[in-house]
Symmetry: C2
Subunit: 296 residues, 2 copies
């Protein structure tokens, strides 16, 4: 079964969660969940896991493993327009691990650095690769989901994409929390929708389009690239950028903290990438999807 198929199954299963649980404002399928506490706070709940051999290697310094674990989960909060409050960290540790204490220290260090103190967690031994799971909880006054893009919106991105693995960006990026907070403040309800680009620009733009029921057109020449030598059609399918892709009211482009790379139109909910002549490109099959084991 593919990861994407299982996720679709889960999203379909839980689509009505907010009807039976009115305190669940946003359930599975966005960057993070949004819930309302009894006293009325809106909290964003994000969780993310790093698996050794997949998201980092046995040679990655523990400092950077810890940083990436927290940063990925905080990038999800940023995508919801939330400010970090608290984190939990759990680790399944293999017997070969030489640096469990260094990793634990680094997790607490980065929690402080990212203004998201690690308040609890869990440890277990495992016979397999190290798995580090980070839950982050944030607060928001105005949650921004994937579902708000409207026709004629401008589509923007907070920074360059592509080549994240080769350049090491995936280990050292700073989650776009400041940009998110400033845009929520500046743009208010004119910030229509947001997602963090973790599985490749095209794939995440497609998710934004599908959640909103609009067509998104990206002009390839406008997309900022991390590495000028990386062909743009590849860079926009690379993963692990951790930039924010967002949609705004067309007259607010001056206040967006990012580059305008396209626009939304009424139409089939997908992402089209246009060349300099406005012609739609055929892209290599892009984005991340994993086999989760054979399903009958």
């Amino acid at each position: 079964m593919r990861e994407s198929e299982l996720l679709e199954h889960i999203y379909a299963r839980t689509a009505g969660l907010g009807r039976t649980h009115p305190d669940v404002i946003v359930g599975p399928g966005d960057d993070a969940a949004i819930v309302r506490t009894p006293a009325g706070d809106l909290l964003a709940l994000g969780v993310d896991q790093l698996v050794e051999g997949r998201h980092f290697t046995a040679q990655t310094p523990p400092e950077l493993v810890a940083r990436k674990a927290l940063a990925r989960s905080l990038s999800d909060l940023a995508a919801m327009g939330a400010d970090p409050c608290w984190a939990l960290a759990t680790c399944a540790v293999p017997p070969t691990c030489q640096h469990a204490r260094e990793l634990a220290d680094a997790i607490h260090h980065w929690g402080e650095r990212f203004a998201c103190p690690v308040v609890g967690g869990d440890l277990s031994a495992t016979s397999g690769p190290l798995v580090l799971t980070t839950t982050t909880i944030g607060r928001t006054s105005r949650p921004v989901t994937r579902a708000g893009v409207r026709p004629d919106d401008l589509i923007c991105i907070t920074g360059p994409v592509g080549d994240s693995l080769a350049t090491g960006h995936h280990l050292t990026f700073t989650p776009r929390l400041r940009e998110s907070r400033e845009m929520v403040d500046r743009l208010g309800s004119d910030l229509h929708a947001m997602i963090d680009v973790s599985d490749g620009l095209v794939q995440d733009a497609r998710r934004l389009a599908q959640a909103s029921g609009v067509r998104i057109e990206i002009e390839l020449e406008r997309v900022p690239l991390r590495t000028p030598t990386r062909p743009a059609p590849r860079a926009i399918c690379d993963g692990e950028d951790y930039e924010l892709l967002f949609a705004i009211q067309p007259d607010r482009a001056q206040e967006a903290l990012g580059t305008v790379i396209g626009r939304a139109t009424a139409g089939e909910p997908t992402c089209a990438v246009l060349d300099a002549q406005g012609k739609e490109l055929t892209l290599p099959t892009g984005g991340y999807d994993h086999d989760l084991g054979a399903q009958e």
Copy 2:
């Protein structure tokens, strides 16, 4: 490095967290963290992981794996005197997994059954055993920590201990949420301290004693046993009972939802087990502690 050593290191490192972060009421080292939201809700944040081959086997039905994952994390909330609100579930799935969808369905099913809907999560592939991590968030009006036991308190337990693995109890227990809620309501501030018994009665009683700075004496003959044929000195060192061990004001025994098994005294913070003659027993080294890999 032993799991217990690393945990001690983390607890020492984070002991002052509440001073720098006043919204952190209880940090690492209790059954769950307690935080205060901006509008004043007290939330309990618990997290727990199940590793295949350690907490369940490849033959354990997915239904029971999901149930145990949620129940363990909810048992932590019960130990803090918290009611469940929302859960997050993350899974690292090996390529050999035949039942990822069944497991996902069961997680959502048990979230509903335990009144703790699963509002989000994360999936990843792994080359190792399946790791299922469950974060639960609850609310509490009066957090109950491990640190409140006073000399002369009665020590009680909500149910029998021992033989949990052989009997399958570890897969089918119901977290003591109802008992916790009722006792918080009935006993108020006379419910002094609580812990969930996951690593063996003696080891968890010792944690309660150490957190509170008192000596705890357990009378072996009073301890209810799950299996009458299991020798009591072994049963009190078995793990995975998921009962609540708690300390109350001595005149409130009638209202406790459990059995009185001992009392607290001023003295060296440890747990002593006494035989019918009041003589202290020497126990087999008990409780759970795992090697987390060689530390230099």
